[in-house]
Structures are given as C-alpha cells and as structure tokens.
C-alpha cells in the first residue's frame, strides 16, 4: 500500500469508528487501523498520525487500538536521527496516557527482545521509562506484571558482553553498565512502595533466623526478591567489581549496592541471607521453595559483596564472631570453588581469604573439622591449585591453602595435614604438606612449644605415612619426585635435629622400620630406574648415530590425543634430566645414611 493510500485508509477507519461505541469495532477495523497506522509511521507521516491520535473525537479509538502502533514508533525512536522523532515521541507519550496499561505492557515488552547487543541496550534505555509509567498505573495489581518485566529485561541484559577490565567498565562499549543504571532507576519507585508495605505490616519481629513474621506473602516483595536474586547471579556474579580506590565511580558497584539496599527495603535481613547455610530455617511446607526463593549461587554472590567488597558495611552488624562467619562462608566458598568458571573460582578464593584473615592464627579447634565443608573446601582448593589454567589463581590458591593451615590449632593442624596427605593424590601437594609437617615438628622441638602431636606418640603414625613409597621399589620416582624429596628432607632434618639420647620425635626408635619400608626400597628403585634410563639413553644415542627411523621412546598423550614425538635431541635431554634426578635422590639418601651412622656411633 502506498503512503497516500495508507493515510486515506487510516482516516476512513477512524471516521467510521468515531460513530460507533467502542465495543462495536470489528476485527477488520482493528486490522485496518493497525496496518494503515503502522505504514503511515513507517513512511514518515507521523505528523498526520499525531493529529489523528490527539483529536478529541478519537480518544475511544486510540484507547482501544492505539497500542498497536507501538512497534513502528519504537523503531523510529531507536533510530534517533529521524526527523520524525518529536512527533513519534509525542504519539508515544499520548498512547502511554490513554491506552490500557496491560496492552501497553505487552506491546512494550515485545519490543525489548533483540539479538544484537547494541539494539538490546538502546531498547532497554528507551523503554524502561515508558514501562515504569505503565506499571505505576496498574496499582495494586502490578506485582506479576512487574515481575514479568524485570525478568524480560534481565534476560536481555544477559545477552550483553561483560566488561572484564577497569577500562572496559569505564568505556562501557556494550552499554551493560548503563543498562544496570537504567534498571536501578526503573526499580526505585517499586522498591519504595514495597518498603512502605513492609512498614505497615511490621508488627512482628522478623529475625535473623528468617522466620516469616507476616502471614500473607506480599507479591510485590516476592517479585522484587526474585529480581534481586537473579541480578546477584547475573550480571553480578560474573563481573569483577572494582573498589573505590581503583575506580572512583563504578556503575556496577552502584548497581550492586542498590540491590543490597533493595533487599533491606523489602524486609530481607542481610545477615539472615548471608548466614543462611547455617541457620535452620523452619521447614515451611514445600521447603524446596527455599532453594528456589534463595538460590545458592545468589547467596554466595551476596556473601562476596558483603565480605569482600564491604558493600553496605555500615548497616551490617559488627557483632558476629569471625569463626561463625568463616563457618557460614565455607558453604558459599565450597559452591564457588567447585565450579570451573574462573570468575567464580576467583570470588571463592577472595571470600575464603577474607574470612580466614579475620581469625587469629593457631585458634581454630579440631572439632571444627567435623564440619563437612572444612574438609571439602580444601580438596576443591587442591583442584584449583593443581588444575586451574590460570596461573594467578593457582598461586593464590596455594597461598590461601597455607593460610588455612596456619589458622588451625596444633591438634587440628595434625588432623588436617594427615587427612590432606591421604586425599590429595598429587605429588606436589603432598610434598607441600610434608614440608608443613616438618615446620610443625621444628616448632614443637623449640623450648616451650612441646606438644603431643608433632612429637612422641602421635607423630609416629604420621611419619610412617610420610616415609612410604606408594608402589614400593617400583614406584615411579619421577612422578612422585616432589613428595619423595620432601620426605627425604624431613628425614635428614630429623636425624640432624633430634639427639639420639633425647629422641623427642621417636625417630631413633623408628629408624630401623623406616630403613626397611622406605630407604631400602627407594635405593632399589633408584638403581632400577637408573639402569632403565641408562639403557634407554644408550639406545636413543645409537638410533641417532645410525640415523635409523626414530622410534619413540616415550609417548605422551593429553586428553586422548598423542602429542607429536620428541626429536632425538629432546629425548636425550629428557633422559639426562631423569638420570640427574636419580643422582639427586641418591645423594640425599647417602647423606641420610651417613648422618644416621655417625649419630649412632656417637
């Protein structure tokens, strides 16, 4: 249809309907109005459409059918440079005042959905204000519509690329930060309304234990809670917030702060949320609802915001004991560290560190280890330390691992180190644990530090575990190198440090067993390995000399795929390196035996 025709048709149908009561408009009338009206706007005749829409005689028609004009209007408004902008804006404003809210809502929400980030961001920026106006007109029936709106907006926001650096947040190229700011502005009046509702039915004390003090669930509060929980997950759990000294003005930090404040306004207690893992909430019928209502990831995100970024810290009570906070946070940390997503792992590490730092060294008692997460978190930490692709996170993980050991009291250290030695299944980690054991023994041997855990009766079972070879003489010495070297270091230390006549550690009475179970098989293993590798070296050099087609000596496969064979030179290098390692092991063995002999003959 041409523009001229469209205008004519529009005028005609409007004139026809002027004479009719609005429940007599036919489907055809609706269709003609819609198609003609849309075409007029698309073709740039918005001035004429505006005058039709403003005409007093047409208000019933506009109320009934006007909302159908939304799609092309919004298209024009999104384009921004269109010369029809003022007229379209005027049409939109009039429609917002005249049409039925429910229909406007549907029309506006439809226009939110896009695929490309730029249009998503611009639509949100354009539509949140009209949406707010419409929702405020719904009065006490607004809750579910608000929920639907918030959910749609967050779904669209989820499609936007996230800033990863401070500069990216400042530049905000994909406008995520602006969307968050827009959202905050959008939600403000609804939060305020919910706050007033809370005030009015605030007879009962809702306590930290989270028992609902009010009977009837306030729907508005429920929708806002859903919104806060969803935001805590995305984008807040995905982005890294910058502290004020790094980035003075941060839209993301503001957004997070507003979410926390909103939670308070709708009657949720931040301590209750953050400590939820430890508080036995009354089993409300359908208790699974609790998991849906307060998703675990959202609560973990919240704990991170409170304890790492100190958002709304001035309203969070400063009376809780650091050990209680640690115990509670361990649940959140466990969740975060059990993911492979590096953003979550980083937050888990940060939360762990902040929680540990508040606790005094040597203070956590052994019975704390009866709590499951106190053991599962370190195991997840070991996975991070050994397998996370990002070097910084691995290093940080190790630092936090040591920090966690330092916080335990002596008995707890003993139990923890023994446990981790058994379950880590990684030579490097085991070596690190054995080094810790050595430090603890050293500490115990100093005057005044004597204890029953790292000396005497209890030490021996631990030492027996340390001085053992997983596969006897056939143990792969290269694979277990870290562990073996630390064990030998410990043995050498004990022999030097503990006087035969004092035998505080019990090493002297244990030595003959250690010789049997550890030293002898190790010697045998070293000799066997050395012989094997020397033979391989000889073969490889022969092959190289004869320039015979290279048969791989070693083959390495990663993830099921075999890596290309090493060149002869590399192979030879590797073999030399292995032989050097065996020499190293042997030299410590020899030294240990020398020292033992010297001391015994003293």
């Amino acid at each position: 249809m041409t523009a001229g025709m469209a205008l004519e048709q529009l005028s005609d149908v409007v004139q026809k309907c002027q004479a009719l009561p609005d429940d007599n408009y036919t489907t055809e009338d609706h269709d003609v109005f819609t198609i003609a009206g849309r075409t007029c706007i698309e073709e740039g005749h918005s001035a004429q459409v505006l005058s039709i829409v403003l005409d007093e005689k047409n208000q019933d028609i506009v109320r009934s059918m006007g909302w159908n004009l939304l799609p092309p209007l919004i298209q024009v408004l999104l384009k921004k440079e269109d010369k029809n902008l003022p007229q379209c804006l005027a049409i939109l404003n009039h429609l917002l005042q005249t049409c039925r809210p429910k229909e406007l809502l549907i029309g506006l929400l439809e226009q939110l959905e896009h695929d490309d980030p730029n249009t998503i961001a611009e639509s949100i920026h354009l539509l949140l204000n009209p949406l707010q106006k419409v929702l405020l007109c719904l009065g006490s029936r607004k809750a579910s519509s608000l929920g639907m709106t918030l959910s749609s907006v967050l779904d669209q926001v989820a499609k936007l690329p996230l800033p990863h650096t401070k500069e990216q947040e400042e530049d905000d190229v994909f406008l995520l930060c602006r969307c968050c700011t827009d959202l905050t502005d959008f939600v403000r009046p609804f939060v305020h309304e919910a706050r007033l509702n809370t005030l009015n039915c605030n007879e009962n004390t809702e306590n930290m234990e989270g028992e609902p003090g009010k009977g009837k669930e306030d729907e508005l509060q429920t929708e806002l809670l859903k919104f806060c929980m969803k935001s805590l997950n995305h984008p807040l759990l995905e982005v890294q917030l910058r502290d004020p000294d790094t980035l003075a003005v941060s839209p993301l930090r503001n957004f997070a702060t507003e979410i926390l404040k909103s939670l308070g306004a709708i009657g949720e207690s931040l301590p209750a949320l953050v400590f939820q893992p430890l508080l036995k909430r009354k089993q409300v019928p359908g208790f699974l609802e609790e998991e849906v209502r307060y998703p675990k990831e959202s609560l973990a995100s919240l704990a991170h915001l409170v304890f790492v970024h100190h958002l709304t810290a001035d309203t969070f009570p400063s009376v809780f004991s650091p050990v209680f906070i640690l115990r509670s946070n361990m649940e959140h940390i466990n969740l975060l560290l059990s993911k492979t997503d590096e953003s979550r792992i980083q937050k888990g590490l940060e939360l762990y560190e902040k929680s540990l730092v508040r606790v005094e060294n040597n203070s956590l008692p052994a019975d704390l280890l009866e709590i499951k997460t106190l053991l599962t978190v370190p195991q997840n930490l070991v996975k991070v330390m050994t397998m996370c692709p990002q070097h910084d996170l691995r290093t940080r993980g190790l630092k936090i691992f040591q920090l966690s050991i330092d916080k335990f009291d002596t008995e707890a250290k003993y139990n923890f180190l023994q446990y981790m030695l058994n379950v880590s299944h990684h030579s490097g980690v085991e070596g690190y644990i054995i080094k810790n054991i050595k430090n603890q023994i050293d500490h115990a041997l100093q005057p005044g530090n004597s204890n029953i855990w790292f000396e005497g009766v209890h030490l021996l079972p631990l030492l027996r575990k340390v001085f053992s070879l997983p596969d006897g003489p056939e143990t792969d010495l290269l694979q277990y190198l870290d562990r073996i070297m630390e064990s030998l270091n410990l043995l050498r230390y004990l022999i030097i440090r503990d006087k035969v006549t004092e035998n505080q550690t019990g090493i002297w009475t244990e030595l003959y067993k250690i010789e049997d179970k550890f030293i002898k098989p190790l010697r045998v293993g070293v000799n066997m390995s050395r012989a094997h590798y020397e033979r391989e070296l000889h073969n490889t050099m022969e092959i190289k000399k004869n320039k015979v087609k290279e048969n791989s000596v070693l083959s390495v496969s990663v993830g099921g795929e075999e890596l290309p064979n090493m060149t002869s030179e590399s192979q030879i290098e590797a073999l030399h390196s292995a032989l050097h390692t065996f020499d190293m092991i042997e030299s410590v063995l020899v030294r240990v035996e020398e020292l033992a002999e010297v001391k015994e003959t003293l």
Binding site: T205, P317, V319, N422, H458, T509, L511
Partner: protein, 221 residues
C-alpha cells in the same frame, strides 16, 4: 600362671658395671608384653634403645616388669603396627591431654542502666532481640541498629540471633546470658572477647580494641 619368667639378676648385679645395658634390654624385650615395652620406650633395635635409655631407667623397668607381671602372652595380641586411621578425623588421643586452662576473670564488665524484669533470662540457644550501639574507647561509634528517628524505628527490627552458641563475639554471648528481658546495660568488652589482635580489617575496629556496647534486650524466645 605357668611359665612366668624368673629374675636373672639381683639388684646388685643390675647396678654393676659388668652388666651391659644391652643384656637387660634383650631380656625385657624377650619377656615383656608389647604395650609394656611401648610405654617404657624399649621397642626397636637394641643398639638404638641402648643409646636412648639410661641404666637407671632399665633397672626400674626390669623391676616394674616383675611387679606388674606384664609378660608376653598376658595381654591379648595387639596390632604391632598402629594403623593410620586416615579419614577418622574424630579419633581422640588415648591419654588425657590438656589440663583445664585457667582463663582468668571474665573479659567483660556490665553495668545496668535500666533494670529488666529479672525473670526472663535467656538460656543458651534462645533467640534474643536487641537494640544496641557499639563504640570504641575514644567514643567513636562503629555500629548501631537504632535508627535516628522514632518513626524510622518502626521500620527497623532489633538484631535477632541465637545466644550462647558462638555466633557473636564472646563478650556479647556472655553478657546477654546475664541480662533479663527489658534490661538495658552498658557492656565493656576486652579485646580477647571481642575482635582480639586482628580487630576487624576494613572496618572501624582497630586491633586490640576494647569495645563498649549499650544493649537493650527487648525479647527472649
């Protein structure tokens, strides 16, 4: 009672320098129960044991053996190697470990500002509700849950938690257990029962801070 070993040496013979330690050790190792040897640190290579044990100790052990009659075979067969119970973290040591440490006087001081009903005292595990203001010794207020206007007070709720379970700093737990419903008290807490040497990093509470709280106990459940 058959087959009880007999004393090979008299006391004089034992003390004599002609009798080497090794012989005594061998005798005891041959005849004593495993647990006896363990307790007297006589297990292991005779050479090594001879290094660590003094003659006097051996004489005592020798005599003890005959007094207590803890010979081989008088006790049930024990595990020679103590198994490392790796995963049982709750294994408690066999001997009584620490003596009760005397902690000294309580590390808080309470003065009552307004009396309570003197009947409803919270017990461990009860849920209490409080209004409070916390300040440092120099008067800086670091925390309060009392809003500035009476109107706002309607909107805010008292702090609520289960008392006596270590969820709050020790000074609070201990002080609240001595208060009755309706009581307002001024509680001064030494750092040991507050945030100690660390203080609260990133907050207004410095290390080794003595804290002063004014607490009103409004509810006990």
């Amino acid at each position: 009672m058959a087959d009880e070993p007999t004393r090979e040496w008299s006391d004089d013979q034992l003390k004599s320098d002609d009798l080497p330690k090794k012989d005594i050790i061998k005798f005891i190792q041959d005849n004593a129960a495993h647990s006896f040897l363990n307790e007297h640190k006589l297990l292991g290579n005779i050479k090594n044991v001879a290094k660590t044990a003094k003659k006097e100790q051996l004489i005592i052990a020798y005599n003890q053996l005959f007094l207590s009659k803890r010979f081989k075979g008088t006790e049930p067969v024990e595990e020679v190697t103590e198994k490392v119970k790796a995963v049982k973290i709750d294994e408690k040591p066999k001997e009584v470990k620490t003596e009760v440490v005397d902690e000294g006087p309580p590390k808080f001081f309470k003065s009552v500002l307004k009396k309570g009903d003197k009947e409803n005292f919270p017990k461990k595990g009860d849920t209490v509700g409080c209004w409070y203001t916390g300040s440092l010794e120099d008067g800086t207020v670091f925390d309060t849950n009392i809003p500035t206007t009476a109107r706002k007070k309607k909107q805010t709720k008292p702090l609520s938690f289960k008392v006596g379970l270590g969820r709050v700093i020790r000074g609070w737990d201990e002080a609240l257990l001595t208060m009755s419903k309706g009581e307002t008290a001024r509680v001064e807490i030494e750092p040991e029962w507050a945030y100690g040497r660390k203080g609260l990093p990133d907050s207004k509470i410095p290390p080794n801070a003595k804290l002063i709280f004014e607490v009103e106990l409004v509810s006990v459940d």
